[in-house]
């Protein structure tokens, strides 16, 4: 969609489409981008999708889009909206099908030189121990009653059973266990889709990377997060797998026939929603929180598998070395949550929707772990397998401007088909390996679809976030091993 004639520049990083642009808009739409990124999104329907979000009942201040914005369905990816918790809505389409898709970052005190010789063996071991790819089940087969416990308690359940530690829970959004989850709000169909998927990466853009901390931008924040230049880190990117997909499908189906009765007219059915106070809205929130807990449990189990592989491969060679992999943080980037924000000078409870966007709370917020509260929340931004990822820190300014939200990645700029036409999987593998990046991926097609060329320039995306004040740069990380499904 071409840029609307009504769009105006607020600053070098902020563009606004006024409420008057379309009669059904309730608030203006704001896009965080520079002119280059703005030009890229003209090629798809993301702006129209953002304008549609601005029409939803109870929306506060603005419909927002982060600089990694691109076309999705319903909300654009990178779409952010706060709805009044009194008379607003909750939308499964505003969360997406991969509920609590997110990123977890572990840190190591080892440096690249310590592991370089062992990197292929380490990548092989992780590739074996963490199932990846379409439909690949894990080693854990849950019963329905065990599934209910996972949905209710998330990763807390795993820690109580001796897997991981309280420290892991303390260093995660929602302590890896979202309150309000109710397994009875999840259909049997949805539960069945997840019974053998705990501890699995899945496919598409989900990945596991061993990274080296390449540059530090903010020493105090990096020190608080335990990040040291030259040291290694492990990033895990995945979500709630089939159970999240089915919950979103179930609730969109439930809500569509009821929209007229609630007096809700939508420009796009994929924005299906329910008043937050309605039984349907409450039930979706409980089911979504349950899927979010599944996703946190999933990333927790993958983390434990990586820790075991790390010790198994490195212990014989690196005697007396520190082989621990403490958790830096874990963030969700597809989720709706009750949060309190200051709007027009007063504290307002809202239902925050972030679809392909990361919570980035500034210093002092009680939701941030004690260890980071003075600095701001760690914000984890995965890039692409050939470029870089970032760690940022939340800011006060971001709280005021964007409800404490940042981008969630580089953001696609090219369709998967176009990526495959542009990049050959085998050639990409060769190119990355020539840069010293170990690749473990069974699918040449899957590799080509996720080529760096298919994504926006992550440095540019993060620069806009930093300059706009949504979050500040702390560290840049570069991949040295990539493990992914096809």
């Amino acid at each position: 969609m071409p840029l609307p004639a009504s769009i105006r520049k607020i600053s070098d990083e902020i563009w606004e489409i006024p409420r008057s642009h379309r009669a059904d808009m309730r608030v203006p739409a704001r896009i965080y981008a520079d002119e280059v990124l703005l030009k890229e999104i003209e090629n798809d329907r993301s702006i129209e999708q953002l304008i549609n979000v601005a029409t939803l009942p109870g929306i506060q201040k603005y419909a927002l889009a982060m600089p990694d914005m691109h076309e999705g369905y319903g909300f654009p990816i990178g779409g952010v909206a706060a709805f009044s918790a009194e008379d607003g809505i909750i939308s499964p389409g505003g969360v997406g099908y991969d509920i609590n898709c997110g990123v977890r970052l572990l840190r190591s005190s080892l440096v690249e030189g310590d592991v370089r010789l062992h990197l292929p063996a380490l990548a092989n071991q992780i590739f074996r121990d963490v199932p990846s790819g379409v439909g690949r089940g894990g080693r854990t087969k849950l019963s329905v009653s065990e599934m209910d416990q996972v949905l209710l308690r998330g990763a807390q359940l795993m820690v109580e059973r001796g897997s991981g530690s309280q420290n892991d829970l303390d260093h995660s959004e929602e302590s890896s266990s979202m309150p309000g989850a109710d397994p009875s709000a999840v259909s049997d169909h949805a539960k069945k889709r997840g019974l053998d998927q705990l501890g699995t990466l899945g496919s598409g853009n989900h990945f596991l990377e061993i990274q080296v901390i390449d540059e530090i931008f903010d020493s105090a924040a990096a020190s608080s997060f335990g990040l040291k230049q030259g040291c290694l880190a492990v990033a895990i990117h995945c979500g709630s797998r089939g159970i999240g997909h089915q919950i979103a499908t179930d609730y969109i189906r439930l809500m569509i026939p009821k929209l007229a009765g609630w007096g809700i007219a939508l420009p796009d059915r994929e924005l299906a929603c329910a008043p937050i106070g309605s039984p349907e809205g409450q039930k979706y929130y409980s089911a979504m929180a349950a899927a979010a807990n599944f996703a946190w449990c999933n990333r927790h189990m993958i983390m434990e598998a990586v820790r075991a592989a790390w010790r198994r491969i490195l212990e014989p060679a690196l005697k007396n070395a520190d082989l621990t992999l403490p958790l830096v943080y874990d963030v969700a980037h597809n989720v709706a949550k009750r949060e309190t924000h200051v709007i027009d000078g007063r504290s307002v409870e809202v239902v925050m929707h972030r679809k392909g966007a990361t919570r980035a709370f500034g210093p002092g917020r009680p939701e941030i772990p004690d260890a980071y509260r003075q600095i701001g929340q760690p914000v984890l931004i995965p890039g692409t397998m050939g470029t870089a990822s970032y760690v940022l820190a939340g800011t006060e300014q971001g709280m005021e401007q964007a409800f404490g939200t940042s981008c969630h990645g580089a953001g696609r700029r090219m369709s998967r088909a176009a990526a495959k036409r542009t990049v050959s999987g085998p050639e990409l593998r060769q190119k990355l390996e020539s840069q010293g990046i170990v690749i473990r991926c069974d699918s040449a097609r899957g590799l080509a679809e996720e080529a760096p060329e298919a994504y926006k320039d992550v440095d540019r995306v993060v620069r806009i976030v930093d300059r706009a004040g949504l979050a500040r740069k702390v560290a840049r990380l570069k991949p040295i091993a990539v493990i992914k499904g096809g």
Binding site: Y97, V134, G135, R136, R269, E270, A418
Partner: protein
């Protein structure tokens, strides 16, 4: 016009389906979804699954029908290439999905979306776009 065309989408999968009747449109949409996911077949044994769907209108019925096929396939490691309708109206259908067991898929389709889905009739053809979350 081929029954299923692949269109571009920045992140997901957009197809256009076209057929001479509503029942054929639903069948072609099912085949389009299955073909796009690239099943790796595990055998020749034919499998049949019964689906029964009620929806507010024809557009929702197509999404709900495909979502049921996706759920059955994901839960049972199967993929479906044909459908026999016992009954189909604007708001409900009863049908048998015909398919085979699979070892895996080349592409994971997470869900069928309502975005842009609008079944239209022009001349003697029924058409719609469908966007799948992948």
């Amino acid at each position: 016009m081929p029954p299923v065309e692949m269109l571009t989408h920045t992140a997901d999968l957009r197809i256009r389906v076209s057929a001479a009747s509503i029942a054929e449109l639903f069948a072609e949409a099912l085949r389009g979804m299955t073909n796009a996911s690239g099943p790796v077949w595990a055998g020749e044994n034919e499998i049949s699954r019964e689906v029964s769907v009620s929806s507010p209108d024809r557009n929702a019925l197509l999404v709900d029908f495909l979502s049921e096929a996706l759920r059955w396939g994901d839960t049972n490691n199967e993929a479906y290439t044909n459908v026999v309708f016992e009954e189909i109206s604007d708001t409900s259908l009863r049908a048998r999905l015909i398919g085979r067991p699979i070892k895996g898929l080349a592409l994971e389709i997470k869900a069928v979306t309502h975005h842009e889905l609008e079944i239209k009739r022009s001349a003697s053809r029924w058409t719609t776009n469908i966007i799948f979350d992948i």
